[in-house]
Symmetry: C2
Subunit: 122 residues, 2 copies
DNA sequence: TCCATATTTCAATTATCGGTGAAATATTGA
DNA sequence: TCAATATTTCACCGATAATTGAAATATGGA
C-alpha cells in the first residue's frame, strides 16, 4: 500500500467517532450495518454520520452497498490490514520489539463493548 | 493502550512530514537523530520541524534527549507497537484475515529509502 | 566575553475539519 | 400518487491545524 493511501486512512481513523465506526463494523463482519443503525448505535446525527462515513469510504476503509432503501456499510478488512502491515513493515522496519501482533497484549485494557453476531469469538 | 492515546497517535502520524519523521527515526534505532539532521534529511524548515516534533512527542511517539547543544530525537517503539497492537487486537477484533503481520506483504511497494546504521536487517 | 550554531517560541495568516440543521434525493408501502 | 422512511447534500460557522518568518533561548568554542 502506498504512503498516500496510508495517510488518508490514518487521517480517517484519527477521529473518535470514525474509529468507533470502524470498530463497530469490523465486529459486524460482512453483514455490516445500515447507516441508520450506526447512527443510533453511536448516538450521532444522520448528517454528521454521513460525513464521517464518506471520509472512511474515501480512504478505502469502508465499502457500502444498497439494500432496499438502506445503505449497508461494511469494513474493508483488506484495507485495514494493509494499513497495519504498512506500519509494521514499512514504517517500523520490522523491529521485532514493535511487532507484538500475535500476542494479545492489550487484552487487559479491552472492554469488549460490541457484540459480534455471526462471528466466532476465539 | 487506551483509545484516547491511540487517537492522539493516529492524529500525529496522519501527516506526510510526521510519518516520514517516524519512519526515519525508527530506522535510526536508539541512536536517534538531532533535530537539525532531521530538518536537513526531510527538507523542512527548523521551526516547522519543531512544531511537528512536538506533536509527535506529545502523542508519546517520540522521546528526546539533550546532547551538548543538540536535541536528539528517537522513536518510542513501545508506543508505536501499542498503537499497532490496538488496531490489531481491539479495533480489528482479531480477524485473522486482517492480521497479516508476520508476512512482509508490502515488500514489493517498499523503496527502502532510509539506511539503518547499527541496526541489523533480518 | 563574543560569535556562531542549534533549537524553540511567538505572532500572524491561511487552510482544513467538524458540527448543525434545513433541504434534497431515493425508496417503499398504503 | 401520497406519505413515511432512509440517507445524503448543502451552506454556514466556529475551532483547530499547518506554514512562515522573525525573535528568543541555550550551548560550545575562539
Amino acid at each position: 500500500m502506498e504512503q498516500s493511501r496510508v495517510l488518508k486512512s490514518l487521517s480517517a481513523m484519527a477521529h473518535d467517532t470514525r474509529l468507533e465506526i470502524v470498530r463497530l463494523l469490523v465486529a459486524r463482519g460482512d453483514d455490516g450495518l445500515a447507516a441508520g443503525a450506526i447512527s443510533e448505535a453511536l448516538g450521532v446525527s444522520a448528517s454528521g454520520l454521513s460525513f464521517h462515513l464518506s471520509q472512511l469510504e474515501q480512504a478505502g476503509l469502508l465499502k457500502s452497498r444498497k439494500a432496499s432503501r438502506h445503505v449497508i456499510y461494511t469494513a474493508n478488512r483488506a484495507a485495514l490490514g494493509g494499513v497495519i502491515a504498512y506500519l509494521l513493515n514499512d514504517c517500523c522496519a520490522r523491529h521485532p520489539d514493535i511487532c507484538a501482533c500475535t500476542d494479545d497484549i492489550n487484552a487487559k485494557d479491552r472492554a469488549g463493548v460490541y457484540s459480534s453476531p455471526g462471528i466466532a469469538k476465539t
